[in-house]
Symmetry: D2
């Protein structure tokens, strides 16, 4: 029995290839994570275990897809950057988004017990995803800066809010006190009322998480005389540092690439 | 600190809304499942536990997304049909595909132990996904028929192939014996050599799995005198039957809808 | 000299194929025709010469593209319907739109002198265009009804407005008198003040223009004895009738097709 | 009478906005110009009148759309470059393509008599068009180089072919003599057999046509004492020069822009 009679239905699949030679960012976002975090008793304003679990899932993505050269995570959101020159899966948006998001979600459940050993995961989480093209390095950096500024704004707000609520204010009171206030006011509030120096909070909360490959000196074997043999090996690392200023990118030139070819100069 | 300086990057997100008033099919497909099935010792040609696990994941999708009115699964693949009139997530392709595929993959890991109690899952699976629009009921049915015919063709081939290999033939010999042969030849081979009556194999292997909502009579309470009170309730059910002929659709008219409005007549 | 070094730039052309088996409507619209109509002294509220010139251009489109089965024109706008099953130019949106719109615009200049023999065309007009898919016959008819209702609403408004202005009211006065009023009020105004019976205005103004192919009895030759030999031949005709009710479509079943195949029943 | 009942059909218009901050190239191409050139007796291998008419149409495009910063024409084809930063018509592909192509086609008919005073235009020409995004300056230049190399290859071939045919060879003989031969062979053939020095042929044939704005010293008035007052004014100019090497772009830095902002450095 041939299947040819029905095969015409394949023609309804339209191309969703993304523009070549642009940075592809795949951003995924936990669906309904306000409830998910309540059900699982996430600490407020930040739960370090949940953030480290997100980073573990991101690591799985970088290990599965060599063309993902960078990731940035904050809260229940992660952005993955595919190399400008990547042609993986013919740059088809649905393919890329679905593989990243399903691997991320499956890993989230797989690794849950390591980060929440005291609590069973109650139900399967899901994530939405999208793919966006950025045509140049500066615009890609502006995208990432946008996310890191957002991390900062939200974290500062949430730190104030939850400090107020946890010290006895009602949610409405807490909101009224801080909404529309400037950064300085919030920092002063945290300091004067709660003894919190905002800038000394853990960087993972204030800066989010950067994930990328870095050549690190690694012990590859130990000689008979006990001398370790080290070699530079590419490792996936997670850091919590500023990515808005040039410093990070200058120290890690291989992420965006410094190819000398005419095409990548632009 | 305002985020407005960087917010222009949002303008790079282009719309991927799907054409209104068409059936949306989201098809997902296990990535690298040949290896996944080997690592986890799936039975050949079909592993019923793995198929039932897929169905369990599909159930999670139908329970999470009321606009998904039908699903069809075969092997490591599942197709989900969204109602023509659905406007969920503004019909954005990436949103729809990512939510379905991540929920499916996360559920796969969540429910693994129920179906494979003797074996730990070794690594997180991933799935690719795509969204395709079908403009009319007959074309949607042709799409589903295409998948069920494919199920049949593949299952018949695989049943022959693995019978031969499990009875001592080499993979190459097995291939040479059956490639290019007609259905009748394969049925005869199965019967004469292995005593297998193809049409008596479990329907889940031959027909794949249909998942949909059906009004079923359900006991909602028991009266004091012991008389059970039943009511018609909509249940998600899984069946393994023919969907190519009209019978199934006639018996389940609510799946595709029989709305009498002018717009849905077409 | 080979051109291969630069040919990679072709890969940046992304597909814009439209969904198969849907009606494609290409709607074009005069760009800046308020000014164009002033410069060329078009009569207000309607200039029959200009409308007939538009119809002439539409005729050129139907003669050039056999898959265009219907057109509807109003003011400086025209909608062309491509058959559901058409695969012309692989249903690529840009191709279809550009060929229709350029032929239309070029014909507009070519035929100008026939419709405006007393006035030279002052500058080249341009038109914008778009392609939209409609998945079913009723929705396509709703699209066309939308345009014809628009024709009616605009024509009624404009007839009142210009009657008032031409009888001495200022534009602002005219607007104030009619804006927000109902159809009955406008009809009454036209009748009582200007002796105009709206329903007796030329159908080309009230109904717009329908263009399509119709089998007409045509004299193909004259016998020696003077008897004309007639045959049914397909002719492109322009009419000005109601397309909202069923009558027109029942009388012209071949436009949308009455194919009995399973696929077109939907 | 409200039109709201049918207005839902507008929701079927899907967005076709092009990626921001990329060069948009709109390339248009004469449809069926082999026949058009025969019917109108175009000289072979090149008809300078037809090429100059194309350039006149391109001029109309640049004058109508200030965001078109460059055009390149060869044979019956023209490419128009929109500035990276342009947001005209919200960068909608169909809008841009349709306006350019319809203005071009209408101008072609309008200006025909100036370039072909001895012959009436026989029928309306049409053009197909497409819009393609190029994410960086070097890739845009590669695109334009691709077209100019194509111009050269085709012109060299056609010059040989028509010289042979016009000197008595049959089309088949001419083809057989030159197909697959290298540039040097063709140049030698032209020189030895027809006394043609390829590099001395008119640049408009060998290089195609570049159209862009250039600040030119223009006489804006003449003083009473007869001294002309000149000022730098931006003029649309047409040249026929090399655009593959850097020289042209260095001499005309304003075309691609030398903006010093972070965003345009990439």
């Amino acid at each position: 029995m041939a299947n040819s009679k029905y095969e015409y239905v394949k023609s309804f699949e339209l191309s969703d290839a993304l523009l070549p030679h642009t940075w592809i960012v795949i951003r995924i976002d936990g669906k309904g994570f306000t409830r998910f975090s309540q059900v699982h008793g996430f600490k407020k304003p930040n739960d370090e275990r949940a953030l480290r679990l997100m980073n573990e899932c991101a690591r799985a993505v970088l290990e599965d897809l060599p063309d993902v050269c960078f990731g940035y995570g904050v809260s229940d959101e992660y952005s993955f950057v595919l190399k400008k020159t990547s042609t993986v899966y013919q740059r088809r948006a649905s393919k890329l988004v679905s593989i990243v998001v399903s691997l991320f979600a499956a890993t989230y459940v797989m690794k849950w017990d390591q980060y929440f050993p005291d609590m069973k995961i109650q139900y399967a989480p899901s994530f939405d995803g999208r793919a966006v093209c950025y045509p140049s390095d500066p615009i890609l950096r502006d995208y990432l800066s946008w996310r890191q500024v957002d991390c900062h704004i939200n974290n500062q707000y949430n730190t104030c809010y939850w400090s107020l609520v946890q010290s006895g204010n009602s949610p409405v009171e807490a909101q009224d006190l801080i909404k529309g206030t400037l950064a300085d006011f919030k920092n002063e509030l945290l300091h004067s009322r709660f003894g919190i120096n905002y800038n000394e909070l853990p960087p993972i909360f204030r800066k989010g998480s950067l994930i990328f490959r870095r050549k690190e000196e690694t012990v590859v074997k130990v000689e008979e005389d006990g001398v370790p043999v080290k070699r530079l090996k590419s490792q996936v690392v997670v850091t919590h540092e500023d990515l808005i200023k040039d410093a990070f990118w200058n120290e890690n030139p291989s992420i965006l690439g410094t190819a000398g070819s005419k095409k990548s100069q632009s």
